[in-house]
């Protein structure tokens, strides 16, 4: 385990964590404000990726595609909210899970029909291609640094909105006590529509940003969704700050675990055992982390509901 590899994997973990944060941010607000479980949130990530991939082919420019894809993912979020989510608010979580799981199946199939099951690849935009030397023997792709920058920038923007605007106050208030916000004269349904649409756009943005480094394929949002749920449970449902910290922790634990678990285990057990246990343990690492957090802080690291 060299220091360079460790540094590279830390940056990769950071980049992964920031993308998870963009997906988890919308999920935690939707779950927190309206107590609505939206499994279809991963679909928004996939749609963001597909829209960007397809538009990049059509227009020939990644940034043009990204700019066009954002309002489209916002619109898709609005459409899903109107058609599917709205009738489900008054229902129980089981109905919500079933219906939004149905959305995953339908959209995954629809994407397969429209664009085929084969992965689509998107070239890294010219201006962000290549690598930079961060330190001796440490080359890191510029594009991944750009993702880290974009993720941090979005997190900062989100923090400014949630912390500094009246809309943000209402979102925070709604996450702790939505009926009371409503009883004070705010139409929480409209608030929720706005939150859902922006959440969809953030997930779509994450999907768009990863197109040059991951393959764009049907079902690509499913794994991300599960990780995003881990993030919001660890961070505390309804808390943006919690989602940010938890996303970074999950991203780092997952990435570093996969790279170094085997090496670390070799220090305490035989090489062949470590080769078996390492990969198994590293794929469980974030779930162990979640179980650990839940055992000591059942409401997550930054609970938004129980305070007071």
């Amino acid at each position: 385990m060299s220091l360079t590899l460790f540094a590279v994997q830390t940056l990769n973990g950071l980049q992964f964590g920031l993308m998870l944060f963009l997906v988890a941010a919308g999920l935690t607000l939707v779950f927190g404000v309206m107590d609505f479980i939206n499994l279809a949130h991963g679909v928004q990530y996939m749609l963001g990726a597909y829209l960007t991939a397809v538009l990049a082919k059509v227009t020939g420019g990644f940034f043009t595609a990204l700019l066009l894809a954002m309002p489209l993912t916002l619109l898709l979020g609005l459409v899903l909210e109107r058609l599917v989510f709205r009738p489900l608010y008054a229902r129980g979580h089981l109905d919500q899970v079933l219906a939004t799981f149905g959305v995953i199946l339908i959209v995954n199939e629809a994407v397969k029909l429209a664009f085929g099951a084969a992965p689509i690849s998107v070239p890294v935009p010219e201006i962000l291609s290549g690598s930079v030397r961060l330190m001796d023997g440490l080359l890191f792709p510029v594009y991944r640094l750009a993702i880290i920058g974009a993720g941090l920038g979005t997190a900062l923007l989100l923090w400014l909105v949630i912390d500094g605007t009246r809309f943000g106050m209402l979102v925070r208030a709604g996450a702790t006590n939505a009926p009371m916000v409503s009883a004070l004269g705010v139409d929480v349904r409209r608030l929720f529509t706005a939150v859902t649409a922006f959440g969809a756009m953030l997930a779509g943005f994450a999907g768009a940003m990863v197109t040059p480094i991951l393959s764009v394929e049907p079902g690509m949002g499913d794994g991300v969704l599960i990780l995003a749920f881990v993030v919001i449970v660890v961070g505390g449902v309804g808390s943006i700050r919690g989602a940010f910290i938890a996303a970074l922790i999950v991203g780092l634990v997952d990435t570093l675990g996969r790279s170094f678990a085997t090496d670390l285990l070799k220090l305490v057990m035989s090489a062949s055992t470590a080769n078996h246990v390492g990969p198994a343990l590293s794929s469980m690492a974030i779930y162990l982390l979640m179980a650990g957090v839940l055992a000591f802080r059942p409401a997550g690291l930054f609970p938004s509901r129980s305070a007071g």
């Binding site: 996450a175 009926p179 009371m180 409503s182 009883a183 004269g185």
Partner: protein
């Protein structure tokens, strides 16, 4: 101003309110009395749209409110200070006041500064989180938050419950101030003495029925009868 007729409501199969009639005129302070579990808070929840009534009509000014969502009641001009205060714990004191502030009927009578003048303690604690306040301060904040919606009618549900005597007195003097300013108020409380001082009319609920109603003078004359219905 507020007219409730034949109101029935309940939770699932359990019916809590039976045919409740209630009127609050402009500038009037009406007290809703009764033992615990007799339907006072359920009445408030039905009026504010938090619990859809099963029968009856609720008219506020010219607006029909029964069957409307809570924000319609608030937009029509009802300011709710709910049971248990329910301030927003993750917002600062100032944010609690500002987040849902509105002035729907002309220039605002209540601003942040006026609320701070009414409760100077809130000004001192303006940057603290709602969760860091004492019970009395939370109650002041809940009243201030409702005033910031510049309502035509304030509903105070158990605003002095569980507070120290000194804070209670402060809350009652605030209610008296609001009354002197011509605010219409529906107040729920258990302290008959305090209500006699501040309210114009009284409505007593028992097991979801209105069992006594009258003016303060009538209440004083009939006090023994009414008290029997308030104490176990």
């Amino acid at each position: 101003m507020l007219s409730v007729r034949g109101l029935s409501a309940g939770y699932g199969a359990a019916r809590v309110l039976f045919d409740v009639d209630l009127e609050v005129g402009a500038g009037e302070v009406v007290a809703l009395l009764g033992r615990n579990g007799m339907g006072k808070t359920t009445t408030v929840r039905a009026i504010t749209g938090l619990l859809p009534p099963t029968a009856g009509e609720i008219v506020f000014g010219t607006t029909r409110l029964d069957g409307s969502p809570p924000h319609k009641a608030a937009q029509a001009g009802i300011g709710l200070v709910p049971e248990g205060r329910q301030i927003f714990p993750t917002l600062t004191v100032e944010e609690n006041l500002v987040a849902t502030a509105a002035s729907r009927f002309g220039p605002p009578r209540w601003t942040k500064e006026r609320v701070y003048d009414l409760f100077p303690r809130l000004r001192e604690r303006r940057r603290q989180m709602g969760s860091q306040l004492s019970g009395g301060e939370q109650q002041m904040l809940a009243i201030g938050r409702a005033l910031m919606t510049n309502p035509k009618l304030m509903i105070l549900d158990e605003a002095t419950e569980g507070l120290a005597p000194l804070i209670r007195r402060e809350i009652w003097s605030c209610i008296a101030t609001l009354k002197a300013e011509g605010e219409s108020i529906l107040v729920i409380d258990k302290s008959l003495d305090a209500l006699i001082r501040v309210a114009d009319r009284h409505v007593v609920l028992e097991k979801g029925h209105v069992v006594w109603t009258g003016t303060t003078a009538e209440l004083v004359a009939d006090r023994a009868q009414v008290e029997k219905r308030l104490h176990v």
